[in-house]
Symmetry: C2
Subunit: 225 residues, 2 copies
């Protein structure tokens, strides 16, 4: 593989993935693609810009999907100001399968756009940072989802694109261990769904991150100061 | 079915589909969704606005994907000013399978966005105007494509969405006959890829349209004056 595109949000998963593709897999020409899809805050994107530079990517494009919040109005706590980001402790039962932080069909949209970007540029391989979900889950981060997305893209009669998610069977703790080997600076990643000055510590994403650092026996540099 | 969303471009296929869903299927609450994805002209969208009003839809939203031309730069004659729209006569051999007018992964992107729009609003059924292609073809208008897209969306654990393409086995001439029964005014549709004052008559889309009107034994009102 001499070229690849990495979907980069600036969170732990996609940041580790970016450095894995550049250093671990040694792909020569790596591009990164980030999306503004109406998230309530821009902390993740700042981290994405920092990490893309640190990884020395060939190109980092940011796509502003300004319309997305309106498109999915009422659909998600991540994009609708009227819906509060829940605490992990609030999630239970069926809600764990599709929490309020689920954004309607987001991953299919982002992967479709990334595939178009790659296809137009003759890049055959696209990476995204789905990983094994232990505490709660989204249907659009599963191995079945990945397989079916590739089933759609496999019909292309011209320059086809394939999506890879090498972390899809890995826990976040496994990712952190890999990232530590690759020298990833997690002080420049952002995970909290709320985006205040410091991570809130209560949202599902913060709770998962804290659990992963603990399981990996590492300190989270974001909480160090 | 009491609610539906129709993907409406303002071309013959989606216009006929809109009126079919409203009048033919008698769905009570129909919404329409159109996209600006960097097409070289806005003639289709004008037609879409006119037809949505004529059909009396509940809502017609237009999503401006201004970034799309840049995302797929170099990828298509429909969105890149540097690539000429071909004449039908120029297409032959393998080019018929993926002509220069193919837009990288467009239909997967538009259907993903439409599914998100529908999911956020509790609309379970989305219609799109893919039809049988006789002269040339796109992989993202085939029955296999539709089936696999629904395979992805079928994994949703919450309010799932299903895509319907009732014309996928029909010719354009069949569509015109149906449209005539439904009283569709094809004078307010736009098919030409070029978007000049009058249809060019040479691009693949114009040639198909002319053939369909001829096969249906109808006059094209766009060419009448």
């Amino acid at each position: 593989m001499d070229k690849a595109l990495v979907l980069l949000s600036g969170g732990m998963d996609s940041t580790t993935l970016l450095h894995h593709v550049v250093k671990g897999l040694g792909v020569g020409e790596v591009s990164a693609l980030s999306f503004l899809y109406g998230q309530k805050h821009g902390r993740e994107l700042e981290a994405a810009v920092w990490q893309a530079r640190a990884a020395g990517v060939k190109a980092h494009d940011v796509v502003d999907m300004g319309f997305f919040g309106r498109l999915t109005a009422g659909g998600s706590a991540l994009t609708d100001p009227a819906i509060a980001v829940p605490r992990m402790a609030d999630l239970s039962g069926p809600m764990l399968n599709q929490p309020p932080t689920y954004v309607p069909n987001r991953n299919m949209i982002l992967l479709s756009l990334a595939a178009a970007y790659a296809e137009a540029r003759g890049i055959a391989d696209v990476f995204y940072g789905a990983q094994r979900q232990d505490r709660y889950g989204y249907w659009d981060c599963t191995p079945e989802f990945l397989e079916r997305i590739n089933g759609v893209l496999g019909l292309n009669r011209g320059r086809g694109v394939r999506i890879h998610a090498p972390f899809i069977g890995m826990s976040k703790a496994d990712e952190l261990r890999l990232g530590a080997e690759l020298g990833v600076d997690y002080g420049h990643t952002w995970t909290c769904y709320r985006g205040e000055a410091r991570p809130c510590g209560e949202c599902p994403s913060c709770v998962e991150r804290a659990g992963a650092f603990e399981a990996a026996g590492m300190m989270d540099p974001l909480l160090a100061s």
